[in-house]
Amino acid sequence: MVWSLIVSRNFASVLLQQDNRLDQPGSGSLTYLYFEMEEAANASISEPLDLVKLALGERVFIKLRGDRTVSGVLHAYDAHMNLVLSQVEEAVHIVDVTEDGQAMPLRVDRRQMEMLFVRGDGVILISPQQQ
């Protein structure tokens, strides 16, 4: 099985290919990834969080538990997916229910924050955002 994923970045395009036949003992990973990168020929891409590493300094889109989404410039992360973001916009997606149980149209509450730490246990996904 071979799949590819193009990571859009201003100066780098990455081609990831997975080949399960190359699974190596002791590699600790079922996937084995190749890549090509114009400016970072030595960078290792071997695990999902390496995609997040490529997004450092870039705007990312994050989905959180509790019907929340956050967009912001990524400055730090760790293995728990704790994040530090700046120029953040948070959106909370709310469906109000009337007294007789009818769902109202979707309402979105938005907030801006200049610098924000997001605790990793709420993170569902992180995506490099195309602007």
Binding site: R65, G66, D121, G122
Partner: protein
């Protein structure tokens, strides 16, 4: 966790994961935020009546349930008329 050390023998207000509020004298703690509270009282907030004070006595609270521990300013606390205070109970901690 040593941040809780200074609360020992002080009156503390503990907020639990389920939103309950318990006030008592902190007698001990450990790294898992397990707490020992003496002379503890649950403060039950509601919109229909003042704050109900429910005596609980000596409690050991398992750390997993603890959301927040706050030091109570006894002087300020004594100036608050809890019998007249109405407030929604705190929501539980979600996700």
């Amino acid at each position: 966790m040593s941040a809780v050390e200074s609360y020992v023998d002080q009156t503390v207000q503990v907020i639990l994961y389920d939103g309950r509020v318990i006030v008592g004298k902190l007698k001990g703690f450990d790294v898992r935020t397990n707490l020992i509270l003496a002379d503890s009282v649950e403060r039950e907030y509601s919109m229909d009546a003042g704050v109900e004070m429910i005596p609980l006595g000596l409690y050991m609270i398992k750390g997993d349930n603890v959301a927040l521990v706050a030091e109570v300013d006894n002087e300020k606390d004594s100036t608050i008329n809890y019998e007249e205070l109405r407030a929604e109970p705190l929501p539980e901690i979600r996700h």
